[in-house]
């Protein structure tokens, strides 16, 4: 995508730095370690936008006292396999981890577990949580709502977040099938990059402030919106809007969190919503024990066969053929664990600024 020069860092170096930074804000070591590892996993899997590049935003919110560094994550209502959890305004990475554990513990006891979470903050990549379930031979689900960026189909206002959905299924010899997708057509980061490079974006990604299709990134940035997956009515934009709505309701209407245009910002520079309709942002986690449906080994071997059949689809002319959901991230993981995580100059500058603010050393080697 970008031609900017990058510098490689070992994951452990970034993790250790991140842990110390979090600890310097009063976050307990156990929580700091968890959060640092989730950010690093994002970088390792090639999802650069949700890794250590986000540390600067977290530090901004922690510096202003907008995030509780030592939350007590607790169940506020439950019935056997389901519960609502209050994240006590902790780091989303910490709240998310513990709520997801609760879903898996319920699955262990009741076959499945489903947790809707309020009073949380930005939780990193949705895929971290669904991948955790694989360690316990479960199918993992994860969703979160996020700050408004997306217009519902036929709307001219940002009303919903990019609200991602993730679900993961374990394979036997094959890597897992990991679905992790935002319900918008494109990510906001891509609009910012196009603007920086003074390039147009494909028609179907964004609208201007009147809700009209545009290919000029500044039209979106100046009061326009991202389009939901499907883009236009003809191509199914009502479906992406419906999926974003599903995520918003399961994560926030059901938990008592803020929903739709009232979701609080995940960085200081963002607009504060006009009113509050609940507590913090919302997540939704699910876990299902495979063994409750089918022998675990039989299921994993069926997944392998499914993967093999899909991968062997006749390729479309001019392409390298069909990929399996999660496969590009899996290949990136193998590569980056060996070669390190490439960070661009602006992320390195942010980390240096954090180093200066906190006194935690950060060097480019």
């Amino acid at each position: 995508m970008s031609t900017e020069s990058k510098q490689n860092f070992q994951p452990d170096y970034l993790i250790d730095f991140t842990i110390e930074v979090f600890i310097s804000f009063g976050i307990p070591k156990e929580h700091a370690t968890l959060a640092a590892r989730i950010l690093a996993l994002s970088d390792i899997r090639g999802i650069d936008s949700h890794g250590v590049a986000r540390l600067y935003s977290y530090v901004g919110l922690l510096s202003e006292g907008l995030i509780n560094p030592n939350p007590k994550v607790s169940i506020i209502r439950e019935k056997k396999s389901v519960a609502t959890v209050d994240g006590d305004n902790g780091l989303g990475l910490v709240v998310g981890h513990f709520a997801n554990e609760m879903a898996m513990d319920k699955a262990n006891k009741y076959g499945s577990g489903w947790i809707s979470v309020c009073n949380s903050n930005h939780y990193g990549i949705a895929g971290y949580y669904s991948l955790e379930a694989l360690k316990r031979d479960m199918i993992g689900w994860s969703m979160t709502n996020t700050t408004k960026l997306v217009a519902p189909l036929w709307g001219a206002e940002r009303m919903l977040g990019t609200n991602p959905i993730s679900i993961a299924f374990p394979g036997w010899n094959e890597p897992p099938v990991v679905i992790d997708l935002a319900t918008s057509t494109a990510a906001y980061g891509k609009i910012e990059i196009a603007k920086r490079h003074q390039e147009e974006v494909p028609s179907g990604w964004i609208t201007d402030k009147d809700g009209g299709l545009s290919t000029h990134p500044e039209d979106m940035i100046n009061g326009g919106a991202l389009l939901p997956l499907g883009s236009t009515r003809a191509l199914g934009g009502h479906k992406g809007y419906a999926l974003a709505s599903m995520v918003d309701i399961l994560t926030a209407v059901l938990s008592g969190a803020n929903w739709g245009p009232f979701v609080p910002p995940f960085a200081l520079r963002q607009e504060i919503p006009s009113r509050s309709v609940g507590k913090g942002i919302g997540h939704f986690f699910g876990a299902m024990e495979i063994d409750g449906f089918m022998e675990v080994d039989v299921f994993k071997k069926r997944i392998d066969e499914w993967v093999s059949v899909m991968r062997n689809t006749k390729p479309a002319k001019g392409t390298d053929g069909v990929l399996i959901p999660g496969e590009p991230e899996h290949l990136e993981e193998i590569k980056r664990k060996k070669e390190g995580i490439p960070l661009n100059a602006s992320v390195i500058a942010d980390l240096k600024a954090i180093s200066k603010q906190t006194g935690i050393p950060f060097s480019e080697h």
Copy 2:
């Protein structure tokens, strides 16, 4: 969409006819009534493709003895809130109804219930099942896999069905939010209609037999495929493919049904898959008791507020503004319950052919 002349029928007339037709194939009256009501609900909600228009296909399969008219729908494996159900090769409408009931009974006992179903057939509209859950103050989920029509992104073969996802949330004064979407960009019926009218289709709906984008419906019909929601890589076609994969795995890999390109046909004229990898087609049902998460009335009022805020989004220029998922079907339901169900000449001809075959009278009044 179409300018074909239509004739209106009262829902009860079509239901009574359908019940008698099913009974004539040895289907017990209770099952026949259920199935007829599900087909009629589809017509009433304006989803013409999945209503009485499908009776001809069901009759074809029943006539050939390919569907068991009196199935014993049974749980073959379970752990508290989750189970796998074998549909005994019954009508999907009957199997689906009973499996969905099992999910709701589990939700009543364990807070949620999740059923993966094998050995079933075409189950009608996904939304019927999720709507049923609302009667019990639950959130309903429903998915099914279907006969192959869709190419995975960068593939040049039909490998997946249009695999729909439905989820429904009850409102207080507002009608429910009902999400019900196929994971393809467009429905196959629209390609057939365009071909009949000798019209082109929008770019992004279909590929030709080499996997290239096409606007000529006959290219899809002659060995091409539908595109997944998102259409192209730039607009997120990998996401629609991932969602279709999720449905395929939850409904069929997990239940022991046929998956991907091996899903059996739902009508006689369709191609028989090259091999069998399980039993019948697959469904997945979920139900969650709202009361396990939040006071039911509080949740319903929060849904009303969510609906009101979304509906009041500033409209995009040149549009009537934002609709709520399920709203068009709800408005159609009010209209058709009063005015009747409009059937076109080819559907009426099919019903007359069924009347002739079975001896059940059918008149145009």
